[in-house]
Amino acid sequence: MSTILPLTLTDVAVRRRGKRLLGPVNLTLGEAGLTMIIGPNGSGKTTLLRVMHGVERLSKGHVEWSVTEDAARHRQAYVFQTPIMLRRSVADNLRYPLHLLGLPKAEVETRVGRWIARIGLEERTGLQATRLSGGEKQKLAIARALIRKPDVLFLDEPCANLDGASTREIETLLQNALAEKTRIIMTTHDLGQARRLADSALFMLHGVVHEKGSAEDFFNAPKTDELQAFFRGDIIA
């Protein structure tokens, strides 16, 4: 099956109550790797991610995949900063997206068993997902997103407020997903994580893509004063 990428954003803008939240953004994201979106609070990172995923209404411009919008929506997944757990067991949270796809029961159970083992929740399959710890919830949310085998995975600061061990486990999950050819686009505040994982990066400032490039150029030779200041930890107005 061909991939739904590249993803192209043309002249995209989002305005709410007269305030510009994003744009104009013109951007093309290719078929492979992990693109990290960084920037200060309120710079438009999450809005950009939601626009790409198609869950944010555009005020202007358009978002295009290589396939129809409906086909693309079925082949991408999104993980929220605060994991949303269905009020069901851990296993049923994983079954849910597969039932939506209408997969046969045997296939559903095979995938669920494999992913429960991958995220190390074998002892908690019957537990209500809402009773998991923060790190476990986020791992389950990522597993629930990846269990559908999406072409593209969007993650909005998946490791925010998590400890080092949980962050490492989540990064391992993401690296495995990359190895399985899942395209990942994520936001983060953690520059260390950005350096560890990114193949390419975008710097958002005031709702626009201020700078972008391959990870090597982006982190080692930032071109704009603002990105240099951001890396130094200066406050950017």
Partner: protein
């Protein structure tokens, strides 16, 4: 106090001797109210959930109307259903007036807005929690409704039990459309009204205690069957 004591004693003897009349009207009460509950829930649960997740032009008006209908006077409902089902009414041809079916129809009209309104409140909160996830998963409207109803089933149980409580205790409407006919449409509430009118307070109280016991018993059974209030379950 003497009447209450005599009522309790009478209720005890009516129950332990399986009094035929008591059994008949109790079973009819349950049959009418539970049938009305099933029909009303089948309408109100999807309706309340739909109103929670769907935005449309007159949504606020519909919700306001639903909330207002929660306070429908049963006597007025009874009167309207009576007119509709009477020989000269549009549905007179079916000959439903003064039958348990007419009582069920009246109860459905009374409890559907109540169940739908409580469902809407509960589902609105759950929808706020699930919104981004279900939108992200590209679910259809029907899939969203099914998911919310399943995951919010404990809240919906409360909504249905509230409806059942209103139905089993209702007297005004079913008195008008049922007629309180012995061996045909007499239920616990109409029998209580009749015995009170006759001045037989002990029997009226006995029937009242049976009615309360039935309502509590049904609630406990449903909670037990649905395993609410157990650790780790929703």
């Amino acid at each position: 106090m003497n009447d209450i004591y005599e009522g309790l004693v009478s209720a005890f003897w009516l129950v332990v001797t399986f009094d035929a009349d008591l059994m008949e009207i109790s079973l009819r009460s349950l049959q009418v109210s539970l049938t009305a509950l099933v029909i009303a829930s089948a309408i109100a649960l999807p309706l309340g959930t739909f109103l929670a997740i769907r935005r449309f032009r007159y949504r606020r008006l519909v919700i306001s109307l639903l909330n207002a209908l929660m306070g429908l006077p049963p006597v007025v409902v009874g009167l309207i259903v009576y007119i509709l089902l009477s020989r000269s009414g549009p549905f007179g041809v079916f000959g439903l007036l003064f039958t348990p079916t007419a009582m069920i129809i009246a109860q459905v009209v009374i409890i559907t807005p109540l169940i739908a309104s409580i469902t809407h409140q509960a589902m609105r909160e759950l929808w706020a929690e699930y919104h981004d996830l279900l939108i992200s998963l590209n679910t259809s409207a029907w899939q969203r409704i099914k998911t919310l109803i399943w995951d919010g089933r404990r809240n919906l149980l409360t909504a249905s039990l509230a409806g059942f409580g209103r139905a089993i205790g209702e007297v005004g409407a079913i008195m008008i459309v049922g007629g309180n006919i012995d061996n045909a449409t007499r239920v616990l509430t109409t029998a209580i009204a009749l015995e009170t009118g006759k001045g037989d307070f002990a029997l009226a109280l006995a029937l009242g205690f049976v009615l309360i016991a039935l309502a509590i018993g049904i609630n406990i059974c449903i909670h037990w069957l649905s395993r609410t209030e157990r650790e780790g379950r929703w």
